[in-house]
């Protein structure tokens, strides 16, 4: 019985993951991309749960909700913002 309900669920989540992966890779703005990749990461967490991998799901959860956004947002803020000394020209 579990099997029967699980298979369509897995198929649906796999399809969502495929779409989300494409949207992360093809989205061109980094800021929108980190938001999309958060969604993508959570979908992966769900997928891992239905694939019976709770340990991996938990790791992915902490990675995708904390580690990635933090470092990526800092990098975006730093590179997108103006330079601290106010010039945006290339230094070379």
């Amino acid at each position: 019985m579990i099997v029967e309900t699980l298979v369509p669920l897995q198929a649906m989540i796999l399809a969502l993951v495929a779409v989300a992966a494409a949207s992360v890779a093809l989205c061109r703005s980094p800021l929108r991309q980190i938001l999309l990749s958060g969604v993508y990461g959570l979908l992966l967490v769900v997928l891992f749960v239905v694939l019976q991998a709770p340990d991996v799901a938990l790791s992915m959860l902490v990675a995708t909700t904390v580690a990635y956004p933090l470092v990526v947002l800092v990098a975006i803020a730093r590179t997108g913002a103006r330079r601290p000394d106010g010039d945006e020209e290339r230094q070379r």
Binding site: D55, A57, A63
Partner: protein, 250 residues
């Protein structure tokens, strides 16, 4: 056409061929859900009776394939060292200015402290029961580190920096990573293979199940928590300090 356009145009057929080859190969896989690999079955069969760990994944990660995890811990260790090396000339070190905190609300500060305490507790719990239920050193360690990141968000940079000084974090990180190697060497010195279990299997389903898995697990938790805190700090310094410096100059 820009260089990038040309690249995209060439990439499509090239990826098409790669895709054709890869899908052709994937079609030779055993059917989904019908896997009979011997390795995993062997571990499922022996993990509980021989190792008294109810979580076969943790038994694999910390015991049967513990060497992979030793390598993995040092990947984290090396990456954090690398990030500190690469960011040593910019951020706080580059602009020597004390940052101004934007957070002024005491209630928010209190929330930050509570969040820190809560996060650390969750992290410890995750790490402690890793070999019984899902979880373990890595997940617990990241949870602890993210509690510090929350502290930054709620209470500001200074509160964060005060609680995460390099003088404390570096030795902690090194103890975690080195502790793993020491557990391995201790076995070697007592005449057993590297990383062999010195302490017997212990009781199933308790905190002490799995013998020296417990030590390795805690070493990993310490290493991951300290390393990720250093990592977050190195990145946050890139963000907070240049901004503060720019504001004070204006």
């Amino acid at each position: 056409m820009t260089r990038r356009r040309i690249r995209g145009a060439v990439a499509v057929p090239a990826l098409g061929v790669v895709g054709a080859v890869v899908f052709w190969g994937l079609s030779g896989l055993p059917s989904f859900g019908d896997y009979h690999g011997q390795y995993g079955r062997l571990i499922n069969d022996v993990a509980l009776p021989e190792r008294h760990t109810t979580n076969a994944v943790t038994a694999t990660v910390f015991d049967y394939r513990g060497l992979d995890t030793l390598g993995e811990e040092f990947i984290l260790f090396a990456a954090v060292t690398g990030v500190v090396l690469l960011l040593r000339k910019s951020g706080r070190r580059g602009v020597d200015a004390a940052p101004k905190d934007r957070v002024t609300s005491d209630a928010l500060r209190l929330f930050g402290m509570l969040a820190l305490a809560g996060g650390v507790l969750v992290g410890l719990w995750l790490a402690a029961y890793g070999y019984v239920t899902p979880g373990g050193g890595f997940q617990g360690g990241v949870a602890i580190a993210s509690a510090f990141a929350l502290l930054y968000l709620a209470a500001g940079y200074r509160a964060f920096a005060r609680r995460t000084s390099e003088e404390a974090l570096d030795p902690l990180e090194a103890t975690g990573a080195g502790g793993f190697a020491v557990v391995g060497l201790a076995a070697l010195i007592s005449g057993l293979p590297f990383l062999a279990n010195l302490l017997g299997p212990g009781q199933p389903s308790t905190l002490f199940s799995g013998g020296s898995i417990a030590f390795v697990n805690w070493a990993a938790a310490i290493e991951v928590a300290a390393a990720n805190t250093i990592l977050f700090k190195a990145f946050l310094e890139q963000y907070i300090v240049p901004l503060a410096a720019a504001r004070s100059r204006r």
